[in-house]
Symmetry: C2
Subunit: 212 residues, 2 copies
Amino acid sequence: MQKGKSISKQIEATLRADIASGQIDAGERLDETKLADRFSVSRTPVREALNRLVAQGILVSNGRRGVRVTEYTREELAHMFEAMHEIEALCAGMAAKRLTLLARASIEAAQAECIKAAEANDLPGFLRANETFHLTIYQATKNPFIFDLASGFRQRTGPFRAQKFSTAEDLIASARSHEEIIKHLFSTDSVAAASEMGQHMKDTFMSILAKM
Amino acid sequence: MQKGKSISKQIEATLRADIASGQIDAGERLDETKLADRFSVSRTPVREALNRLVAQGILVSNGRRGVRVTEYTREELAHMFEAMHEIEALCAGMAAKRLTLLARASIEAAQAECIKAAEANDLPGFLRANETFHLTIYQATKNPFIFDLASGFRQRTGPFRAQKFSTAEDLIASARSHEEIIKHLFSTDSVAAASEMGQHMKDTFMSILAKM
DNA sequence: TTTGGAGTTATTGTATACAAGATATCCTAA
DNA sequence: TTAGGATATCTTGTATACAATAACTCCAAA
């Protein structure tokens, strides 16, 4: 930490990471004073961070009854997954339409990492590589607003998607699924790419919901 | 105002409205102390409001050099419009797939208002009705996340879209364009509905960009 | 035993005070 | 006259103090 940024920004980043990684879990109440103690600062920068996280939908405020990590019912989760699945498909479609050589190379590199990690059954490595794979596609849309949208959903669904991959087969199946997406992406068939990505995400989400 | 909400929430809502309506214009710097004076409160609640608006992308923070209303270059604006146009199309497609009778009635009612206002050359009335028309379609997606996404873009593009409608012909042309969208929506042809909505938004945005 | 309520405690919302960085001013020297 | 820099001023970031409201405790009465 300590990157010259303001204290409140550092706290915001730390909390976001803790929530995304599941270290702070859904529904948990965040006490301003305790957080201030934890970071050895006053309540003020903590409050600033919490406010921003509330504005982003990561935390939810209950008036004077404090803030909690947003938790979702099965139905809300399904809605969130559906939204993300649509956005992912949109990204794939846009990326297919305007794929540069550079973007293509980046996507191939990310996919190579996915395959490598999957075959080594390296879960954390796969999650990182998978993240990069998808973010690279977002970037290939050449639209920063779309990128932010998709990244936002990726963050919010992070804690749930992490559960999905338990066996080595899960990883390999997911990596294989990427190959299909890439095929359509590189043939610049935007409709097929979008549809394939939609299917990929739908598979992921259905299997998560099935376990809940 | 004064609806039992906390002061900072009220300030947030007021500022958002002022920015969306163009009373505070793009690039303008917001001074915490001056705002505190304007609302007759201390800087604290003002800062909370500003923070949330920054998190929503409505304001942009420059480190210790204060916050300003986000302003967009022509290119950024084009990107934002492109993103919104894709989201609008997505909404139309989803709405077409799951249109209930109730939603259909709401859309028809909103469109009737649009036509009425357009024929009376009532600009503020048309803007309100147009807003309702689009929001109703967002709602018809039955997905609150998509609804929030689309509403967010609508807010951020508000100040720019408002400029577009100058003549009575503009209003009538826009209202006519709605009819085409509705036709496909009601025939539950999601692809055609999405495409038609995409065209509608593209027309709007192109004519705005042309004037800049 | 349970319910209702008064009083206490704890936590958030707001105000003020202080610290630190950024901008502006103005003086000096070339 | 202009460039450079030191100083002053202004603005934001953080800390602390106070106010207000919600949660909790515990006792009394039915």
